[in-house]
Symmetry: C2
Subunit: 455 residues, 2 copies
């Protein structure tokens, strides 16, 4: 790894010409305002109280759309509108599970997205339990015939959330791998770092078998049972339905630029959520952070470029990224940068900026604003801006990647515990402050993240 | 408060005659064995895995009875038997709640013991929310007519669990107070120190109206809604049933005394639990601690007095204390001391001993064993030994009160989160070590906790 020697804030400021120093003062003012501003809290409090859970394809998502339009107008955004699309939406029905023998006990489960229904009356089958996902993958085809495969691999707590990719695979792909080996059902230990008896859902493979997450204590209960060496039999009863073309909406509002209105900064979060919680963390907070950051960045007067907030309408089950990219392919070349906040309301501990533009005076001004926020500039370039801007990225739109402290994210993610009370207003404000300063600096400069190399 | 000057362990030992020093060595040996012994863990692991939740009146409680008999025999206890009685048992049916307007959202609830059923189809009524219990009590009779009363007072975290008595009153009595004021339903913020979306049940008043606990995030959601100044309407649908004479059992095993078998030390925990968890903490751990402590205390050879372990069969809904006292009234004068472990599997931070006997050489030996365990001797006498020994206390049986660190107890208590994974084996072993040393000292001496005053 190459050594990275950051400039101090003072050194950065001293090296700037006068106009850049004005920009730096503007960024600092926006940052400081953000630290005492309650807009983000008010937005997420409003969304979780007045709408709550909002899975794509549900009536609640229609209410969320109307809420988004009203909220953006109320906050003074212009050109507020809705961009419609359709997408596949899986919906949960009734779900239950229990050990029927040798030691009858109820199990707490939550179906995974794309899970099939069981036949009416459910299925009853012996389980085959694997303490690691690899152990299940090592089973030959057909070896799980007639069994419910259970994977209980644990997820470690990480600040950067990297264990999600590593362990999450048992949720993303596991049902298909189990079905391929003959399994009639699939259960996983929740992709969770917590020990509560609340399972965590999320998208899974469309594998034709019922698939659900066990709460972490329930996964451990099955481990304790299996350790006794007797066959353990589980009854699983699950229903669900799929709408192949559910209506969905990306909700948009803008602060038009005064000099170059066609140059656009696209930021946002996703409005849809999974069903068990109120979607406070995932991703009411992202919607709130970006809405507040845009408002704060535009509060001193119209920016030179346009700031656009997008509340994407189908992240959890996919669809909004593709729809947004398709609708905006003609302006993709004019989108200066895109960013999504979708990793929680906690403090941003580092930012990754595209290498082109990173030493532009506007970015120097932004970087100079970060030390008081205890936010570092990562030497690594952005790798992934967010699910909803993947379509833009694929069209060459530059993205930034601001890294939120995800230590607690997977305690709550996709579970009933995704609720407002888990948000720390001080960390939320810090998160907004980083984004607001960035948006202000980009919107009031000519920084180009597409340039071949920094000067 | 009077100043309390504890003797050091060394000073205590130096002051003892030779026989007492033998006793002290015995206590220390039992304590040290307990710290590395896995019996308590194995017992609670077995109970939660092989039986799980065991509400009184349920088929699981029959399995628990059989488990208790088998476990005590397996561990070498003698005179293992079951003492039958009948008691009133309330059982949960289907339960659901939701805000129907102005902002439709599901609520997570759990009925309180003794809750009435709603009429078929449920009730729909405006809520009257009070942020403190006193605020509801201050309402005049009839003022809650046709409303669902909601009390959202919060519970503070305490090491000694004292906030349970202070805030728990809203659960113990609130439904009756709400009904008296005309309410048609009653909801409380769970008696909980946690922020998970799992409600906490427990016994409530038999008030003729439906009564349930909200998870703490749901209680806060209602506060956020009410703060908007519009009437909030809730739909509540609950069923339950009562068996006025459910069969129940206290399960008993003994290590008979070799010199004075009729002098008995009675220790135990309760075998029944609430239904949502597996009853690991409340009170599988108490059963495990006392069973292990008795076994360890008797392991060096038969004690002089009899050690009796009781797994009481109906603590949560009451009945086992009364039944036990009635069955043993003739031997009450011979019960040397009684103790119940029912405040969790965590470390014991202080012990309260009856003043008579506290300076007997056996208790000096016990006290000398405590400093390495970081357990203090409280200057206060025992006030409450446990729910299941109240009947014995009323007949003059001396009790001890060993204070478990309850800081985390009300995160889990009476909720689905009462599961095995919450137990820390090291703290469990410390807890057993305190009890085992005490039981050894009492069983191998003539200490009398009834004497008028210490010599």
């Amino acid at each position: 790894m190459r050594r990275f020697i950051p400039l101090t804030a003072a050194a950065l400021l001293a090296a700037m010409p006068a106009a850049a120093q004005d920009l730096a003062a503007g960024v600092a003012a926006v940052r400081d305002k953000a630290l005492t501003d309650g807009t983000a809290w008010d937005v997420v409090e409003s969304l979780t109280t007045e709408v709550g859970a909002r899975p794509v394809g549900s009536p609640a998502m229609e209410r969320a759309r109307d809420w988004g339009v009203a909220k953006l107008k109320e906050l003074g955004f212009q050109n507020v509108h809705v961009e419609s699309f359709t997408t596949r939406a899986w919906s949960r029905g009734a779900e239950s599970a229990e050990v029927v023998g040798p030691w009858p006990q109820k199990l707490v489960i939550l179906g995974l997205g794309n899970s099939a229904s069981t036949p009416p009356g459910g299925i009853t089958a012996p389980i085959a339990l694997f303490k690691s996902y690899q152990e299940m993958l090592d089973q030959p085809p057909g070896s799980l015939k007639g069994k419910i495969a259970v994977v209980t691999q644990r997820m470690g707590r990480t600040q950067d959330g990297s264990s999600y990719g590593a362990v999450g695979i048992q949720r993303f792909m596991g049902a298909a791998e189990a079905a391929r080996r003959g399994a009639v059902g699939y259960l996983i230990r929740s992709i969770s770092t917590d020990d509560t008896r609340l399972p965590h859902t999320g998208g899974g493979a469309d594998a034709g078998i019922p698939a659900a997450a066990l709460s972490t204590p329930d996964a451990e209960l099955l481990e304790h049972m299996v350790a006794r060496g007797k066959p353990v039999t589980v009854h699983l009863d699950m229903t669900s339905s799929v709408n192949p073309a559910a209506p969905a909406w990306n909700v948009v509002g803008e602060i038009p630029g005064r000099e170059k209105p066609d140059e656009v900064i696209v930021i946002g979060g996703h409005l849809d959520s999974w069903d068990p919680g109120t979607g406070a963390i995932d991703d009411g907070s992202g919607v709130a952070i970006m809405t507040a950051a845009a408002k704060l960045a535009g509060q001193a007067g119209p920016p030179r470029r346009t700031i656009r907030v997008v509340m994407w309408g189908s992240e959890e089950q996919g669809g909004s990224s593709r729809a947004y990219a398709a609708a905006h392919k003609d302006e993709a070349g004019k989108i200066v940068v895109a960013g999504e906040s979708d990793s929680g309301p906690w403090r941003i501990w580092s930012v990754s900026l595209p290498k082109p533009g990173a030493n532009h005076p506007a970015m120097k001004a932004f970087r100079a604003s970060l030390p008081p926020l205890e936010t570092a500039v990562s030497p690594a370039p952005p790798r992934f801006g967010g699910s909803d801007i993947e379509g833009l990225m694929a069209m060459g739109v530059p993205v930034v990647d601001f890294n939120t402290d995800a230590s607690r994210y997977f305690d709550l993610h996709h579970s009933a515990d995704d609720t407002l009370d888990k948000i720390d207003p001080a960390q939320l404000a810090q998160n907004v402050a980083v984004w607001a300063g960035f948006v202000y600096a980009v919107a009031n400069s000519d920084v180009d993240f597409r340039a071949a190399a920094p000067k």
